[in-house]
């Protein structure tokens, strides 16, 4: 990954308290796993930003290296990589995700 790409990803992750790298958009997710994450965050009713990796192919590859995680979607809260769809579902079901986003939004 080029230093420029890494810097671009770091900037995105730092500037958005809740950020999802996904396939498609909030309104039209292009993958069931990305849709899971959008649905969960919509249910929590919190503000979040998304990056469509299908429209930004350099980020699509770069983000996998950045997080050492091979799949999309990827969720970042307060600059920290939280996980993908499976972990989001587990954290949502246990109530931890709600806590994490509340802490992030209050900070």
């Amino acid at each position: 990954m080029t230093p420029e790409l890494k810097a671009k990803i770091e900037k995105l992750v730092q500037e958005n308290k809740i950020l999802v790298f996904m396939k498609g958009s909030k309104l039209m997710p292009q993958c069931g796993f990305s849709n899971n994450v959008v649905q969960i965050l919509n249910t929590l009713g919190v503000p979040y930003e998304t990056v469509d990796v299908l429209a930004e192919l350099d980020i699509r590859q770069g983000i996998k290296e950045y997080s050492n995680w091979p799949t999309i979607p990827q969720i970042y809260i307060n600059g920290e990589f939280i996980g993908g769809s499976d972990i989001a579902i587990e954290l949502y079901q246990s109530g931890e995700l709600q806590q994490m986003v509340e802490v992030a939004l209050a900070s």
């Binding site: 796993f33 050492n68 799949t71 996980g83 972990i87 587990e90």
Partner: protein, 83 residues
């Protein structure tokens, strides 16, 4: 196309001590892994360890998606009790 048994073998090579179950349709897979290696590690770290075992297959998109559930033996006892 690869079959669930091949995915299971890849994971089992890195986690010889683990209980591994894999199901899938040839591109999308789901796996449950119970291993003492997960003790003291976060969920993200646990999943990263498993993804590392299948990294080549995922990078080449032979595996399109691998949904994971990872447990320590202790956590598995709790989950298994509920099923």
């Amino acid at each position: 196309m690869i079959n669930p048994q091949q995915v299971k073998t890849m994971i089992q090579e890195q986690f010889p001590e683990a209980q591994v179950e894999v199901a899938g349709d040839g591109e999308h897979f789901e796996a449950v892994i119970v291993s003492p290696k997960f003790e003291g590690k976060s969920k993200v770290k646990q999943h990263q360890m498993v993804y590392a075992a299948v990294n080549d297959a995922m990078a080449s998109e032979v595996i399109h998606a691998l949904s994971l559930k990872t447990y320590t033996p202790e956590a598995w006892q709790t989950v298994a009790g509920k099923i």
